[in-house]
């Protein structure tokens, strides 16, 4: 532990432990937390990929075909599959944590966690179905 201003130097004999750099590897819950934090990289990666896709689309049909060709490369497919896994991990853990932050009350009683989580998943499903419908229409 670092020197804290609140701890005076008048107690030089207090023993202070140092937190290891690998503190997150000591406990399953800490490890899951770190994976969740790191999964934000996958989220950012997909944002960049989507922006690249939009950019290719604006360049015209030929550029978009080239972009699609580039996406089919085994390396890209592997990278995207791994990133998708972490993206889903991020999304699912995010929805599961949502009731902690939302302490909504109805008629004086707190809304059960399952309703908040459920409505998040419901919205996710509805938007996904809507998108699939929109894309399959044309």
């Amino acid at each position: 532990m670092n020197q804290t201003p609140a701890y005076t130097t008048h107690h030089p004999r207090w023993y202070r432990t140092r937190i290891s750099t690998y503190w997150w590897s000591r406990k399953w819950a800490y490890f899951r937390f770190i994976v969740r934090e790191l999964s934000s990289i996958a989220v950012a990666y997909f944002v960049v990929l989507t922006l690249m896709q939009i950019h290719a689309l604006r360049q015209g049909a030929e550029a978009y075909a080239a972009f699609e060709e580039w996406l089919r490369r085994p390396l890209l497919v592997t990278l995207n599959a791994i990133s998708l896994f972490f993206l889903l991990y991020h999304a699912i853990t995010w929805f599961n944590l949502a009731p902690k932050a939302i302490a909504a009350r109805f008629r004086g009683k707190r809304i059960p966690d399952i309703l908040i989580t459920g409505s998040n998943y419901g919205a996710w499903l509805a938007i996904s179905v809507g998108l699939v419908w929109l894309l399959s229409r044309g």
Binding site: M1, H11, R26, Y30
Partner: protein, 247 residues
């Protein structure tokens, strides 16, 4: 059931050693014994020099928090029989400086607790003649969970953020601030928000969530902090969009 169990107790005697060592003690296992009973047995029968804090033996005073096999626990509520055949490692609460053996320095926590003003703040106290401040069961329910905190600091021992950054105000202090913010009799939430919307307070929390898991009183400090973040964000937007409505 084994008749005895080995306790590996962390010893730190600053006048003798520069860092803690472990001392083994054989103690009897009894069905109704908790880890604290085993420590009391050691103190009474085996080694009078062992130092540790305890008081009520019933999960109310919050003084007997220690690491039991690497998990922060109230030792008065942790049954010895759950650890058979042992050994059981008992260490001082993590993330705090050790004063002696199992005794940690809690000065930092006390300072932080004071900073969040955990008491009812009124703009103007109403005269005694008007009677007490009344509260409905629903109003009580809004903060009751957070009021169960016994300041045992177990959540601080589970919080890696506090371990890595001792400036972090920490789970219990923020949950207790929420306890008063949610109280219908209190008018000090804006005062507390100024203190708690700092980087070393609610925004320091990365939502590991372990504080809630280890809390022996089911206070849910992680929830309190996330809800506070939401409220602070709303307040910020309000002051940004309607600057004239500010205090």
């Amino acid at each position: 059931m084994a008749e005895t169990i080995t306790l590996e107790v962390s010893r730190y005697r600053p006048e003798q050693e520069t860092e803690p060592t472990y001392q083994k003690y054989e103690v009897p296992v009894r069905k109704d014994w908790v880890v604290l009973d085993a420590l009391n047995h050691i103190k009474d029968k085996i080694d009078t020099s062992l130092s540790y804090r305890w008081s009520c033996r019933m999960g109310v005073c919050g003084s007997c928090g220690m690491m039991v096999n690497n998990e922060p626990k109230l030792t008065c509520a942790t049954f010895l029989s759950d650890y058979v055949p042992g050994p059981v490692r008992v260490e001082p609460l993590r993330n705090f400086p050790v004063v002696r053996d199992l005794v940690i320095a809690m000065t930092d926590f006390m300072d932080k607790l004071l900073r969040v003003k955990p008491w009812i703040i009124r703009d103007q106290e109403k005269p005694l003649s008007e009677g007490e401040y009344l509260q409905t069961p629903e109003e009580l329910d809004a903060y009751k969970q957070f009021s169960m905190c016994i300041n045992c600091m177990i959540c601080y021992a589970a919080c890696p953020v506090y371990g890595l950054d001792p400036h972090f105000v920490g789970p219990a202090a923020i949950a207790l601030a929420q306890r008063y913010n949610r109280d219908s009799r209190d008018q000090g939430s804006q005062e507390r928000l100024d203190i708690l919307s700092q980087h070393d307070a609610i925004w320091g929390c990365t939502f590991v969530g372990e504080c809630t898991k280890v809390c022996p009183k089911h206070v849910d400090p992680a929830g309190a902090i996330q809800q506070y973040k939401l409220e602070a964000t709303k307040e910020w937007f309000k002051s940004f969009l309607l600057p004239w409505s500010a205090r």
